[in-house]
């Protein structure tokens, strides 16, 4: 048990949050992608977080990305008969990315990331203070 556990916890959270930010970036970038590599419209992806015991200490719980799931929301149908991807009735299946939801997700992820950086800095300051014991 030591203050170094805090580094592990905070960095696990930063890793998880940056992965969340990554999926958000992919979703926003592909919000209008009619066809992905497999020829199907892009499906929004979301990360699933899971608490994870760090080492043997019962006090330290980090976080990990358990899996990345594809959104089950229905695809957005847009009437555009001129589009080559349009079906027989003239509708184009657009990705099921909710841009507003992705933006709030992005803000939440970046705030969580910042808080964890702050946690890391606090632990570093405390360790540096500890190293000065007996020097004053």
């Amino acid at each position: 048990m030591s203050m170094f556990d805090v580094f592990g916890i905070a960095s696990s959270a930063m890793h998880a949050q940056s992965m969340r930010l990554n999926t958000t970036a992919s979703n926003l970038a592909n919000a209008e992608s009619v066809a992905g590599p497999d020829g199907q419209p892009y499906h929004a992806k979301q990360v699933v977080f899971q608490a994870q015991r760090m080492g043997s200490s019962p006090y330290a719980t980090g976080v990990q990305v358990q899996q990345v799931v594809e959104s089950a929301a229905p695809l957005r149908l847009v009437y555009d008969p001129k589009n080559p991807a349009a079906d027989a009735r003239g509708y184009v299946s657009m990705p099921n990315v909710d841009v507003v939801e992705e933006m709030t997700n992005m803000i939440s992820a970046s705030r969580s990331y910042q808080t964890n950086v702050e946690m890391l800095n606090t632990a570093k300051t405390l360790l540096q203070k500890t190293l000065t014991i007996g020097q004053g």
Binding site: S12, A51, T61, V63, S108, A109, T115, N116
Partner: protein
């Protein structure tokens, strides 16, 4: 040497517990977005009292009162931890309240630095006592 150890041991115990509590708060902050995670915290004064009386940090072990009982090394539970009461409920079952975690983090690190200052002060007094002068 025993006198010097006694002098510093209280603050050493306090710093150990502060370190544990910092890890708990870091865990809460790290899991602020984890579904079904329940925020935990330490009752610090109780934990310190227990630690000073020498019964803290031990994993819960089974008492073996007969020869055929199986000794177990004990579960790696955290005996000092309690679940934080829920401030605002959320749909995903997470009970981390970022405001209280942030203030707990600031408070805990300040107390940690205070303990270090106390140790430094005690060491300075000891040095004065040994050297006999202030210079």
């Amino acid at each position: 040497m025993t006198k010097l150890d006694d002098l510093l041991s209280f603050h050493k115990t306090a710093i150990d517990l502060r370190t544990q509590r910092q890890a708990v708060i870091a865990s809460n902050i790290a899991n602020a977005d984890t579904p079904n995670y329940k925020a935990r915290d330490m009752d610090f004064s109780n934990a310190l009292r227990g630690a000073v009386q020498g019964r803290a940090g031990q994993p819960l072990a089974l008492a073996t009162t007969a020869s055929r009982h199986i000794a177990m090394s004990g579960m790696a539970t955290a005996p000092n931890l309690q679940y934080r009461p829920e401030a605002q409920s959320s749909v995903d079952g997470n009970t981390v309240d970022m405001d209280s975690e942030r203030s707990a983090m600031a408070e805990n690190s300040l107390q940690y630095e205070a303990s270090i200052s106390f140790i430094n002060g005690l060491l300075k007094s000891m040095q004065t006592a040994i050297a006999g002068t202030n210079g």
